[in-house]
Symmetry: C2
Subunit: 245 residues, 2 copies
DNA sequence: AACGCTATGTTCGTCAGCGCACAGTGAGTG
DNA sequence: CACTCACTGTGCGCTGACGAACATAGCGTT
């Protein structure tokens, strides 16, 4: 309760012009996101969109037999709950807190009202959605074509980018759930990284020792996604009447 | 040139209120989409959005080494080029005509202008985008968890849904490219379906003989995606000021 | 200090899909 | 009408991931 994070630690909120932000700020409700908490269940109507400030949320696609796969990860660069402003209200996927932390939330009706003002927030939300689409597409290819070793590196780097520290709390079991693979497979791949001196693993705590080393092992997917986020979230939209860009 | 398809064969255009459609109709430019033609290349700015009337377009994610994977397929139910109204202008994926046919296109500036009217078209485009996201997410899980046999069934059904006939022109080589697998693998899986009497394969022509048979073999992914399209594209948006839905 | 639970490490047989090489076979072309 | 090329079918050995079973080890609890 005591210390609340600054909403503008979230990149979306930070990117708003000051007047827009000031109008929005009183509507933002701080929430603590606990590890493993569910922000969205398949098919259930979402009540809020969440702007993480330092939490990380995984979007998972869960199947009938319980197998799941992470299709995207959201941190302080984005927002959870795009189906609210996209018009569908629900999605067939789950949103689970992968790393505990803080967020600010905005109720569905409010975010829709803001979205329909067609101002900077709409623009940001749509661009972010496109970046998310890229992440999902790249995840699909990566699942198909790359080794578990590479995918683990990708996953570690994606998480690392969204964390203030170089330590993440996450068991191999959970990582396996995210990646949609066996726990033993993660043990093996993580073992390789550990023996190579890139990470130190200890009972649910992973410390990244050599980030460049991870970047050297990761597949292209990581860079593609990251580059697309940078492009989409820093580019300033030209005025709407400017014609062909 | 002679016979042009009715633009309203495209579900998006058909779903527009008549007055909206009539305003839009003169702006729509008929185009023939030839097999293998590219509507979008990775990183290149798109000039048009395309509303297929009877063509099918594959969205592919291509990697450095040339390997590719289809991340979604678009037919008369949708539109190609969402990055134009989402704000990114480009995507890191390719759009390739998978089945020749007709489409209507709308230039980037025009579609943006229409989108920003915040009318029924915007609503449709956003809902469609969400459905597309679902398709991509489900493709990612399917790539991870399901056998090639099942994925081939899914692919055939997705194509079939977007075709007026029960015959599709597509070599096993091309299907393999779409699914991101080996050609031999497709030969083997298609052989099983053929021996089971579900399809007849003959030099680039696939005839579906037993659709229910395919549906019995396909994984859940097909139904999930289809259901979500139905839900999103038939649901009518409540008025914007109605509060919590 | 003993216990129990959770997390990690290891092994082994199995199998789907890969990469490669090559054999048929139809369809269109000169 | 023969040729060629594209498409399909098949047979290897190989490998990465799977599933199951089990061993070890840290950490908190009592």
């Amino acid at each position: 309760m005591a210390q609340q994070s600054d909403p503008r630690q979230n990149s979306m909120l930070a990117a708003l012009p000051l007047d827009e932000y000031q109008r929005l700020a009183p509507l933002l409700e701080p929430v603590e996101l606990k590890l493993g908490a569910s922000l969205a269940e398949s098919g259930e109507t979402m009540r809020y969109v969440y702007f993480p400030t330092d939490a990380i949320v995984s979007l998972l696609c869960v199947m009938e037999d319980g197998d799941s796969t992470e299709i995207a990860v959201v941190g302080a660069e984005g927002v959870v709950g795009i189906s609210l402003f996209m018009g569908g209200e629900t999605t067939p996927s789950r949103a689970i807190v992968q790393s505990a932390g803080s967020a600010y939330r905005l109720s569905g009706p409010l975010v829709k009202a803001e979205f329909y003002r067609a101002g900077p927030l709409q623009d940001l939300l749509l661009r972010y959605t496109q970046a998310l689409i890229t992440q999902m597409a790249q995840t699909a290819v990566c699942n198909r074509h790359h080794s578990l070793d590479q995918q683990l590196c990708r996953w570690l780097l994606l998480s690392l980018d969204r964390l203030p520290t170089n330590e993440l709390r996450m068991t191999q079991e959970l990582i396996a759930n995210m990646l949609g693979v066996r726990r033993e497979g993660v043990t093996e791949s993580a073992g390789k990284l550990q023996r190579a001196g890139l990470i130190a693993y200890h009972r649910g705590r992973i410390t990244i020792l050599d980030r460049p080393g991870l970047e050297a092992r990761v597949c292209e997917c990581y860079a593609i996604v990251k580059k697309e986020y940078d492009r989409l979230m820093t580019y300033r939209r030209p005025p709407r009447d400017r014609g062909i860009g």
